[in-house]
Symmetry: C2
């Protein structure tokens, strides 16, 4: 029990590396400076110094910390590898829900998931708590967590919310000054759409990625942390569904390209009402596709 000394181990190894850059007889900087350099507290620095002194790598007395011998390979302490980052965890989690069609109401086994994904239980708990703000999971009365996600209600409300955010972005986009660098990006996107349209018979799989970039470009216009947070999750969910719903993929993508181009052209001519109308139509299509893909998976 009690916390691990991972921090100590990493600091120890880092300080060894610093020692490698020194000659025998040279001295190390002050505890405070070392702490700042290694990004740990002075307490850890002092434990590391004590250990190095015991191992005979340095001689430490008061302020003098003299290198006695060059560090050897065997001096390095074993560290256990890092778990997943919170972004990777998010990916994994959505992947798990969507790929295995985990139905709403399923209890979430924190122990098992943490073990499978090689993350700390604690990290997973925290992640679930943060997801609860999106109403994807909730705490059960008798303890533990429960998956709420991907009912049709959820998908409808998610789509609606996405529409609100994206129409706002389109409106902002159309009002950008003519010298904004983003217009060049948009022209490039148009070009890529045209190319993909011409080769749609063979390259229709590439649309998913282009779609993501397209919507990111639009959404990126709004510099807002709340919007950004939501759009990240929305993008993940839509993207996954497109990825796994292979029905009519080619026609769907061809149609979407046409819709994108209509929106791009409206934006390029600074025709805000036309852009909004095009965006609205496209988002309706997206919503229907998402719902259809849920129907196929036979969600309640």
């Amino acid at each position: 029990m009690a916390r691990t000394d991972e921090r100590f181990r990493e600091a120890f190894n880092a300080l060894l590396t610093i020692c490698e850059g020194l000659k025998v007889g040279e001295t190390l900087p002050s505890e405070t400076q070392l702490a700042a350099k290694l990004e740990v507290s002075r307490t850890v620095v002092r434990s590391v110094l004590t250990r190095l002194d015991n191992e005979g790598v340095i001689q430490w007395e008061g302020r003098s910390k003299t290198l006695l011998r060059a560090p050897r390979k065997g001096d390095q302490l074993a560290t256990r590898e890092e778990g997943l980052s919170s972004e990777e965890l998010e990916q994994r989690f959505l992947d798990w829900i969507l790929r295995f069609d985990v139905p709403p109401g399923t209890p979430i086994n924190v122990t098992e998931l943490a073990r499978n994904w090689n993350v700390q239980q604690h990290s997973l708990q925290e992640f679930l708590a943060s997801l609860s703000r999106f109403s994807l999971v909730r705490r059960r009365k008798r303890g533990g967590w429960e998956l709420l996600g991907f009912t049709s209600d959820f998908a409808i409300e998610l789509s609606d919310f996405r529409t609100v955010l994206e129409l706002n972005a389109v409106s902002k986009f159309a009002q950008l000054p003519d010298d904004a660098p983003i217009w060049a990006d948009l022209k490039k996107l148009k070009q890529e759409h045209l190319e993909l349209r011409d080769q749609i018979d063979t390259r229709f799989h590439d649309f998913s990625l282009l779609d993501e970039r397209f919507h990111n470009t639009i959404g990126g216009v709004v510099k807002n942390r709340f919007t950004a947070e939501f759009q990240r999750v929305i993008a993940l969910i839509f993207h996954y569904h497109y990825q796994w719903d292979k029905k009519d993929e080619q026609e769907r993508n061809a149609a979407a390209i046409t819709e994108h181009l209509r929106l791009i052209d409206a934006l390029l001519t600074r025709d805000e009402p036309a852009a909004l109308a095009a965006a609205k139509d496209h988002l309706v299509t997206s919503k229907q596709t998402l719902l259809a893909s849920l129907g196929i998976h036979d969600f309640a």
Copy 2:
């Protein structure tokens, strides 16, 4: 260490209460039924039955559970009282930030706050994790939590986001059918605004509550879990600021009433463009008020 037997204690007391409704010699229902009734697992029911058997309250052998004597007051086990609910925790937390002007970047001492508010450390951790989705707090690299909130950027982005949500709501509102019951609510709100305007000299403090109800009515038109979640937090933050910023309160509130009335009238006449324009103006005022209360006057 290890978890508390709170669940056992509450189930024990509850079963004692059930026993009080029985006569000596009568029998209790099956374990499964008791478990359903007490809303705990069979394991807990069995522990409770074992204890009651030991105490001589019942005789338990296989399927027969016979009441031997009426329960006495002293039989009840002591339970510790409940902590705060998650809504109360949210209130407390915002109250703490806003009232004591906790500056951005402040490290959050989980141990101390949990002690002061009499909540489990674990609950507080979970709450902070959920708040991190709103970028109000974040995990620090070296461990622990850090308050991010209420910078001018935060306030501006929050206001902008609120504007997006609220304009959408106003638009939806204007398109509601004439027989929707909400029109009556709106007329009532108008009446209350008129009354408050006439008595503004003495009752200007009452505006805060009316304002909250007004925006809830507008926002409530959109049935969307994501919107709802955000509007709850937004309302809390704006409401708190109005509550503590007493500068020019009367004029501010009088002006806001006028703006509300303009929006209400536009809605009542189903004039969507006018309603949107009125809402836009009002939200700009709100944004300025929020920023002013933060002590920020110069912003783009």
